[in-house]
Point group: C2
Chain length 213, copies 2
């Protein structure tokens, strides 16, 4: 499958590398492809690099691995016609570092970044997931407790969720909870304040939640 | 030990019964003691019932098991002089049902109910805990996965947290994570939107989170 991945940070690279490892074709979208190509080359990865619009046009499935505060702008640069009808795996979190640490959220409670993206691009099929775990766990969940922990997913489009679920399973995810429509992003983005504090408390980002029942 | 418990709902009764079972003396504080005494009598429980002020004066340790929206008002009725210097186990959540289901929070993100209570009553030693699990689990955590799941706690006063931690352990809690000062209530109250959705999804309130690492 062909993927367009927005963002060249830790998350974007982890997702891109894992997708290529699994035999997919990936183009990373970035603000400045020549600069990013240099950076990615130095990591000896053979990924394609393009503009956000090129990556969006290339991908059959898209991945939002940008900072939450930049996500809407990036998707605008990607261009609505390049996005229309495609599934977007939205990993971004609406973290607001402007008020110091630990970060707060710039949208929360009665709205979410996932919903903002879905409203701004009605033709996109936004699937919010992976935003509650650290990048290495996103793409290789079985390195923690043999995969015995949960991932949350939500979105309005059932077929898009099935597609994304298949990708997540290929990453190694065993327990994926589909919470329902995209408004559930309010709940999963709201975990971040706890996640950040646990990260500080536990001294590691290699953790996740398991629901005991 | 003597406890003053505010609230005659499921949480207040579960806590009161468990404390009495463990040999403590409990007075439940309520808006209308005569009405509540009748209700509690019908449940064949031998608990003392008084006004919020009487329960506050009676307790060496206090428990806020009221609805979040009523908490500050209840504590005002309890009277600052009856509260001063005492530990308050704050179980209330700032749930807002006015916008429909699932509920949102009436304070969140950059503030919390725990902090609001601490600011309103500086002489109280607010310890936020137990607000992330259902009442039966609060007082008997080992009925789920033999206690192999986590409880969060936070508050500004170290001695008050030690006292509360001892009570929680006597309830059966094995894994209590002290997140730090009361501002961490922002993070633990923010779990509620996810909790409510999981409750709907799983069809049971008898669940809790275990942190896998």
């Amino acid at each position: 499958m062909k993927f367009g991945v927005f963002g060249t940070g830790m998350v974007g690279l982890a997702i891109s590398n894992r997708l290529e490892e699994l035999g997919h074709e990936v183009m990373i979208g970035t603000r400045d492809p020549s600069k990013s190509a240099e950076k990615l080359k130095s990591k000896k990865k053979a990924v394609k690099v393009g503009t956000f619009a090129q990556a969006a046009a290339f991908g059959e499935v898209l991945v939002n691995a940008t900072h939450g505060a930049a996500s809407i702008e990036v998707l605008k640069m990607a261009g609505e016609t390049n996005l229309d009808g495609k599934a977007l795996v939205d990993i971004a979190n609406p973290l607001d570092f402007s008020k110091g640490m630990p970060p707060s959220l710039f949208v929360s409670n009665t709205d979410s970044l996932g919903e903002q993206i879905q409203r701004a691009f009605p033709g996109l099929k936004v699937v919010k997931t992976l935003n509650t775990v650290t990048a290495p766990l996103m793409v290789n969940p079985r390195q923690l407790a043999e995969g015995d922990h949960q991932l949350f997913m939500c979105g309005n489009d059932v077929v898009a969720k099935e597609t994304v679920c298949g990708i997540l399973k290929s990453f190694g995810w065993l327990n994926i909870i589909d919470l329902g429509d995209i408004s559930n992003a309010r709940a999963t983005e709201a975990i971040l304040p706890l996640w950040v504090r646990l990260y500080g408390k536990l001294g590691t980002a290699m953790f996740n939640f398991k629901i005991m029942q």
